[in-house]
Symmetry: C2
Subunit: 152 residues, 2 copies
DNA sequence: TATTGTTATACTCTATAACTATA
DNA sequence: TATAGTTATAGAGTATAACAATA
């Protein structure tokens, strides 16, 4: 989605950041995607598992907000994950319209397998590119930018 | 795809970069996506248009490499874009297996409308977050990281 | 034989809107 | 009325493998 060309950024200095941001993410994705696929998950499914990981679960609405998956679509995605035994729907008493989605034991295992795996896999790309101080700087700048998008 | 939780990055300093990278890109995407939709393009279609923009066109194979869209899928995406009149298939003499995909006049107009539009739309998020020197730094670090992914 | 692009299949995601059951 | 989640529909993207034409 939207890898801009390296054309002359002209008078807009911020384009000098936008394109590298998008292109770096895409370069990352090219490594990441085949790796996710070996887990037998689609990107949307992976998104849900990653969002639920390290939480006590959340409602469908909340899950829809936190991922980029709309409510109607989510039902289908959850159906498949439920069939795979990775998530469960928990019915609550206090509001009987609401359903809490959370990882099953199997789902937690999946989540916990993914990340150490990924850590090992991705590490060299970062460490070959950047020193420790640079990582710290990069982190700080990215977080500032992220915040700006989120509050704007 | 893959928004990691803000859990303790532990002993792996590079995770302090990976998560902000992914999350910043997602924050950007949340702004970008609705904006693309107003153009009547899907993300995959937008990807193709953006990749073809400012080029003389390229073969289907090449286009498949530059986007994240596989060869078989691309046929369908191109069919739809051709029907919309945004791209055309040009048959070449030198290798009659190959077809060059390029933007039509209409496609170029679309491409040229998108970007100034986007520039105007996205600008404040960057400028409110970062000074000019910070942008320069961020750009440099991102490009180093990108290169590492691409050559690794 | 290898490569380019298309076709075929089967599944997943997507948006949207209407629907139900609760509140 | 409003909200939470499901269902229904139609379209689009996805991977994969087999295929025809060309090299």
């Amino acid at each position: 989605m939207n890898k801009k060309k390296e054309k002359d950024p002209g008078e807009e200095p911020y384009l000098k950041v936008l394109r590298p941001l998008v292109e770096t993410y895409f370069a990352f994705l090219r490594k990441e995607e085949p790796h996710i696929k070996t887990l037998g998950l689609t990107p949307a499914q992976f998104d849900v598992i990653a969002t639920l990981g390290d939480t006590e679960g959340m409602s469908t609405c909340q899950l829809s907000d936190e991922t980029l998956v709309t409510k109607g679509t989510l039902t289908g995605v959850l159906d498949r994950l439920e069939k795979m035994g990775l998530i469960e729907r928990v019915y609550t008493e206090k509001d009987r319209r609401q359903i809490i989605i959370r990882l099953t034991k199997e789902g937690v295992k999946c989540f916990e397998r993914v990340f150490p795996d990924q850590i090992y896999f991705l590490k060299p790309y970062f460490e070959n590119a950047l020193g420790k101080a640079e990582m710290e700087t990069l982190r700080g700048l990215l977080l500032k930018l992220k915040e700006s998008f989120e509050k704007g």
